[in-house]
Amino acid sequence: MGMREYILKRVASALVTFALIIVLNFFIFRIMPGDPARAVVGDVRMRPEMREILIRKFGLDKPLWVQFLYYLKNLAKGDLGYSFQYPGTPVTEIILGRRLMNTFLLMGGSIAISLLIGMGLGVVAAWKRGSKLDVAVLTFSLVTYSIPTFWMGLLIILFLGFYADLIPLGGTVTPGAEYANWFQYAADYFHHMIGPLITLVLSFIGYYFMIMRNTLLDVFTEDYMLTARAKGLKTRTVLFRHAMRNAMLPMISVIALEVVYLFSGATATETVFSWHGLGLLIYESVLRADLPVLQGLFLFIALSVLVANLLADITYALVDPRIRYG
């Protein structure tokens, strides 16, 4: 099978998963006990006229399968319903707005920084396996893996925010502040980002480090590594030309999947630091039983997973000539 067929097949399978996600997204939110209509209009904050409109729009007085058709029709038009906590605001507007931007910047920054540090440490540790540095970073990874992220955030607020007074105690910008120009705003914004950024970087590094180190150790057992060394190549050539190139392959799919977090946000960190991103939105929506927003977020996150996977597989196929298309 050729590359083109492989990609077509992969896209076809992604479409099947897409259908599955659409169906799941409808039924997961209908399995709760009680009146299924509660999911869309059961909220007390809703005005009666609005309720009438919604019942008609989503066919809530009709049987479940008809409601499913209505759901598909609205989805095709890009209509995900209206939020309860911000009455009258469309769900799409809430998700695809400022909050997405906030999450995107925070997650993008912390993933990039921790990838650089984690992978760098991974290469050195794998090459000098059993050295002091290797053991130290391994221990660090094991410990940070066991620390709940939200508690790490609490500690950072307590020490850097409360005792050292270096960072703000929460939020995305200082409430009520007036800015003379755009730069002042940006400075305030990034000052608020320091705390959540450090928290996320600390909790991500160990993960990237472990993957990089373990992949390299696997590569080291391959025959071509022995050959390369037997040929008398320089250590640096063996490490970067032979080992790194092969170890990068699994890393590609790891990195591609991290894309998902750009859209789902870091629920724990965002909540602790009151960072107004999508992760905090999930928490607030759960607290306020804002089911339309949650349904929209579920769809949004699941689709980003789908696309990230598709991209990962296709990149992999393009980069690695050994892949068996099948």
Binding site: Y145, P148, G265, V286, A289
Partner: protein
């Protein structure tokens, strides 16, 4: 010697040779020690605590003193006593949620791998979707649907935690069912159920244990997070719940360090213990790692 005696003896030999390998790993022994220590604290809680965890025994938000070694919370309850009793809940929730997750995963993996075909395809598609969705946001969405409470927390952790076990058990089953002893069993007319229960399942058990250890880590961490956000049950205060009360009291912005640090350290130690156990089990049981 009877057959049962022979079987007991081989089992004993297997266990003792496994222990020889296991005790060579410092991390593994450390993890086991942590697990036993927390088990003892949980069992002996009534004898270790100076006060009843629910009683209002002091002034609100007292900092640590001889009378209250870890201070008090906003209602004047003794935090050391609450921490010790919290061990029971955190340990119980972590263990039961992960047991449930691993059980679901093992059954799905066995069925999927053994029967193959359309069953396998459907189950693995579902696994694919679940395994890649980010866990924490999904947990919150499920809590919103199912409602608060400790039992729902266990359920949510299990519903979202079975996928890695399912995958691993499936691939092991796929290779096991092609082995000669399974073929022999089938040739003498053994039923599918018999083959699964007597020939395949016992060979997957070590793998399940390695998975269970890491699954406990995830369960403990997830529980602490969900309880921290206030989705737990105030009648059964876990460590995460202590941190929830700390947040309500504004512990970070007021500098009540004694309210924040001890519960987090406890969660970290418990998770670390199981992570170490997982690490050494993986080193012993995963053949891919042995050749390095």
């Amino acid at each position: 010697m009877s057959r049962a005696a022979v079987r007991r003896r081989t089992l004993f030999k297997r266990i003792s040779s496994f222990w020889q390998l296991y005790k060579a790993s410092k991390l593994g022994v450390f993890g086991l020690a942590v697990m036993v220590a927390f088990g003892l604290i949980a069992a002996l809680a009534p004898f270790l605590t100076p006060y009843d965890p629910g009683d209002f025994v002091g002034k609100p938000l007292e900092s640590p003193s001889l009378k209250h070694p870890l201070g008090t919370d906003q209602m004047g309850r003794d935090l050391l006593s609450r921490l010790i009793y919290g061990t029971r809940i955190s340990l119980a929730v972590g263990l039961s949620a992960s047991a449930m997750a691993v059980l679901i995963g093992a059954v799905i993996g066995l069925v999927s791998g053994y029967f193959g075909g359309i069953v396998d395809m459907v189950l693995m598609r579902i696994t694919d979707v679940f395994i890649q969705l980010p866990t924490l946001p999904l947990m919150l969405i499920f809590v919103a649907i199912l409602g608060k409470g400790i039992f729902n927390i266990i359920l949510v952790i299990a519903i979202l935690g079975w996928t890695p076990t399912a995958r691993m058990v499936r691939s092991q089953t796929l290779s096991l069912k092609e082995r000669p002893f399974v073929e022999a069993a089938r040739a003498i007319g053994a039923s599918d159920l018999h083959i699964l229960a007597r020939h395949i399942a016992p060979n997957v058990v070590p793998l399940i244990f390695a998975n269970a250890a890491i699954s406990v880590v995830n369960a403990v961490l997830s529980e602490s997070f969900l309880s921290f956000l206030g989705f737990g049950d105030p009648r059964v205060p876990s460590w995460g719940m202590l941190l929830y009360y700390a947040r309500l009291a504004g512990a970070t912005v007021n500098g009540y360090w004694w309210f924040i640090i001890p519960p987090g350290v406890a969660i970290m130690l418990l998770a670390l213990g199981f992570a170490c156990i997982n690490y050494s089990l993986d080193q012993i049981l995963n053949p891919r790692l042995r050749r390095r």
